[in-house]
Amino acid sequence: MEVLLYLVPLALVLGALGLAAFLWSLKNGQYDDLDGAAWRAIADDEPAETSSTAAPPASAQH
């Protein structure tokens, strides 16, 4: 049962990582355009982005 002492915190850390990723993506405005995101995934040729900042900052979005 000592294994729980490792596994439970590990599970929690993994969960927290997922949560952090969610909050990060939310802050970056990735949930602002779910319709567009669905189509972008299957677009033939991604329009050439000259900058790596693909997602506009959330603060400027609104």
Binding site: L23, D33, A60
Partner: protein, 729 residues
């Protein structure tokens, strides 16, 4: 024309040397448009970002400061076939978006906690009937507390805040039993854990929060989306004004950038976007949008001009007294305020249900506890069972029942060309038993049309249309539009107060006043037959023709009126226009109840009178003069061509030339309210089954969780049926 727009008001600095511009784009329909626009605009040198938001139909652009003229973007989009206009999100829109994203954040935290607590709860549930040691169970319970307590403290804040506000106002809303249930469950679970008991309710409490947040988020999402669309509509109407930068120089600027005290130029054919006083110039102005009166009045230096009036003949210099949303006759704004106040007393279906529900839940829980005490149970056991009752009666299904239907129904409405403006719109529109239409701009199309097109030879019509392109007079514009004219004739001169003239094939050609074209007789004949029409004469050599121009009734208005009457609604027409015009329209459409020359005050009075007799009125109108009536009616709708103000007070806005969306809105809303009622009944039935079990003390966290999830899923699935609304014929 676009190149003269002053964008400085809309540019934002997004980095040390980067500028950013948001454009509302009309015509984006699919992923193809998205790719086309992005590919095309990102090819412009120095553009660092061109990203389309397909949900909001907006385009975000970023470029190196000074490298590109923003007008180029609008021009490029126009070449691609999209109309675009810069916009500034309204305060309300930003607020809705922030609220939606805050709810999503809280939902994320709650969902994380639910998943992790479930992982700990399963071994406890199975361990309690098996071989789990007491210390292990306590360890798992403490871990659950560690996860749930902070998560609940963060994610349940909307409920706590709302419950506190309700209690402070000495009322009870749905959030009060929710908050009590959550706090009691958490406190009791902590106590149970500390005393090494077998059951804790951490998982049930956090799951309750997660489900309720999902409901709230759905609700908020509807509002956020419609606000965004409404913002686009406002921007795409492209209300601009011509402002004097100096005494000589003029520039076209968006109305949003006009401030009181600015001096603007109003040219013939333009609709004023501001309130103000005339400094110089003389013109006839058409105030039909404000007063409903279609006959023009004369404006000279010192006259007041209101937003929405149309300048017909001469140019005016106007000092702005109010622009943008402040442009109102003070009387209209006062009426509006009163009307909006009386509207806020309306209770939504969910609130009415929760008013009954909250005391019932409390009473049941209290009764259960005293019952068990009387029956000889310990205080501890009685409280545990009472909490189980509070949790199992969780208004989970109730919290999802209405927002879920609303989300689905608002999508269906959007498909029929109706945008919802207010959360309670569906319930209000479903309840109406009377429809009142305004005439000008609502039953009729806002733009003028040639009435006697059939009697004019095609080649004459064509030539007159090309000549009419050189004039900005609305009657001439109607001729040009009806003729489908594209190429203006060369060397056309405008004769002030008379019309436009030139020379074609060596012959004199004129379009303007009948007397100027020598066509008084046929013009008088037309005016005698149809006193509502405006006439414009055309002369080419010896040919003389007179065009009768009038407002055309919306193509399906008669069908819509009769369809509304068929489903048992009384249709009425109130118009500020003169009697013969209103009578004629009423006869064409088969409307038996109508009144002409009605002022905004009269309209409100009529709506109040109907309300006193127990009628629920749907007001459909577009003008500033309708705004107070729109706000005062039980429900209201505006066409997309309506003034900004009318749109913002209406419960819903409908798109396109047709009137059918009004009928669709009523049908879909009625169906949606039926589903909401069904969902409430589902919740009641679920409670009728679950509550006795809980009162009998038979409910474990496992049963509570399963029952809660099942009822929520059932309600969600039922809500999806709102999508299957048949399109009205």
């Amino acid at each position: 024309m676009h190149s003269t727009i002053d964008f400085s008001h809309f540019l934002k600095r997004s980095g040390p040397d980067r500028l950013r511009l948001d454009l509302a784009v009309d015509g984006i329909c699919c992923a193809g448009c998205m790719a086309k626009i992005e590919r095309n605009l990102s090819q412009i040198p120095d553009v660092t970002l061109a990203r389309v938001n397909l949900t909001d139909r907006r385009l975000a652009l970023e470029w190196k400061a000074g490298a590109v003229d923003p007008a180029l973007f609008v021009l490029r989009l126009a070449e691609l076939g999209y109309k675009a206009y810069p916009f500034e999100p309204a305060g309300a829109e930003t607020r809705e978006a922030d609220l939606a994203s805050a709810l999503l954040r809280r939902l994320g935290v709650a969902a994380f906690a639910v998943m992790n607590v479930m992982m700990l709860s399963v071994p406890v549930w199975s361990g309690n009937v098996g071989d789990m040691l007491g210390e292990q169970r306590d360890f798992f319970h403490w871990l659950s507390a560690l996860i749930v307590l902070p998560a609940a403290a963060y994610s349940a804040q909307p409920f706590f805040a709302s419950a506190c506000a309700a209690l402070r106002a000495r009322g009870v809303n749905m959030d009060v039993p929710i908050s009590i249930g959550i706090v009691l469950a958490l406190a009791m679970s902590l106590f149970e854990t500390a005393t090494h008991a077998e059951h804790a309710y951490f998982d049930a409490a956090i799951m309750l929060i997660a489900f309720l947040l999902a409901g709230r988020y759905l609700d908020q999402n509807v509002r956020r989306r419609t606000r965004a669309f409404a913002g686009n509509l406002a921007a795409l109407k492209a209300e601009t004004a011509t402002k004097f930068i100096t005494d000589e120089e003029i520039r076209t600027v968006p109305v949003a950038a006009i401030r009181p005290g600015d001096i603007v130029l109003l040219r013939p054919g333009e609709r004023s976007a501001v309130d103000g006083a005339v400094l110089s110039g003389r013109s006839e102005i058409d105030q039909s949008l404000i007063t409903g009166e279609t006959r023009p009045t004369t404006a000279i230096a010192g006259s007041a001009v209101y937003a929405g009036t149309l300048v017909r003949s001469g140019a005016l210099r106007v000092r702005v007294s109010a622009a943008c949303e402040a442009t109102l006759l003070s009387e209209i704004s006062r009426l509006l305020e009163n009307a909006l106040q009386s509207r806020s007393r309306y209770l939504r279906l969910a609130e009415r249900a929760s008013r009954l529900y909250a005391p019932l839940v409390h009473a049941t829980a209290l009764l259960t506890m005293t019952g068990w005490l009387v029956a000889g149970a310990t205080l501890h056991d009685s409280i545990v069972i009472a909490i189980a009752v509070l949790i199992i009666t969780c208004p989970c299904a109730l919290g999802l029942a209405i927002p879920a239907v609303q989300t689905v129904a608002s999508g269906t409405l959007f498909g029929s060309g109706v945008l919802l403006n207010a959360g309670e719109a569906i319930e209000r529109i479903a309840e109406v038993d009377r429809v009142i239409f305004d005439k000008t701009g609502t039953l009729t199309l806002p733009e003028l049309d040639v009435a006697n097109a059939a009697s004019i030879p095609a080649d004459v019509f064509d030539l007159a249309g090309r000549l009419a392109l050189s004039s900005r007079h609305p009657v001439a514009a109607a001729v040009a539009r009806a003729a489908g004219a594209k190429a203006p004739l060369p060397d056309i001169a405008e004769v002030p107060g008379q019309g436009v003239s030139g020379v074609v094939d060596g012959l004199d050609i004129r379009l303007g006043r009948p007397s100027w074209c020598g066509a008084d007789e046929p013009a008088n004949q037309i005016l005698q037959d149809d006193p509502e029409a405006s006439v414009v004469a055309f002369r080419h050599g010896l040919t003389r023709h007179v065009f009768a121009v009038r407002q055309r009734i919306r193509p399906d208005a008669a069908n819509t009126v009769s369809a509304l009457q068929r489903v048992g609604l009384t249709v009425e027409m109130l118009s500020g226009d003169r009697e013969p015009a209103v009578r004629a329209a009423a006869e064409t459409l088969g409307i038996h109840h109508w009144r002409a020359e009605v002022t905004p005050v009269d309209k409100i009075a009529r709506i109040d009178e109907l309300a006193r007799h127990g009628h629920k009125v749907l007001m459909v109108g577009d003008g500033l003069n309708d705004a107070p009536a729109l706000a005062g009616a039980h429900a209201s709708m505006s066409p997309v061509t309506a003034t900004h103000l009318s749109q913002s007070v209406a419960h819903a806005v409908f798109l396109g030339e047709r009137l059918a969306p009004v009928q669709a809105a009523i049908a879909i809303s009625r169906q949606a309210v039926r589903l909401m009622r069904q969902n409430l009944w589902l919740a009641v039935i679920y409670n009728a089954l679950a509550v006795p079990l809980a009162m009998a003390g038979l409910v474990t966290p496992l049963i509570a969780a399963a029952a809660m999830s099942t009822s929520s899923l059932l309600v969600m699935l039922n809500a999806l049926r709102a999508r299957r609304q048949r399109k009205p014929a």
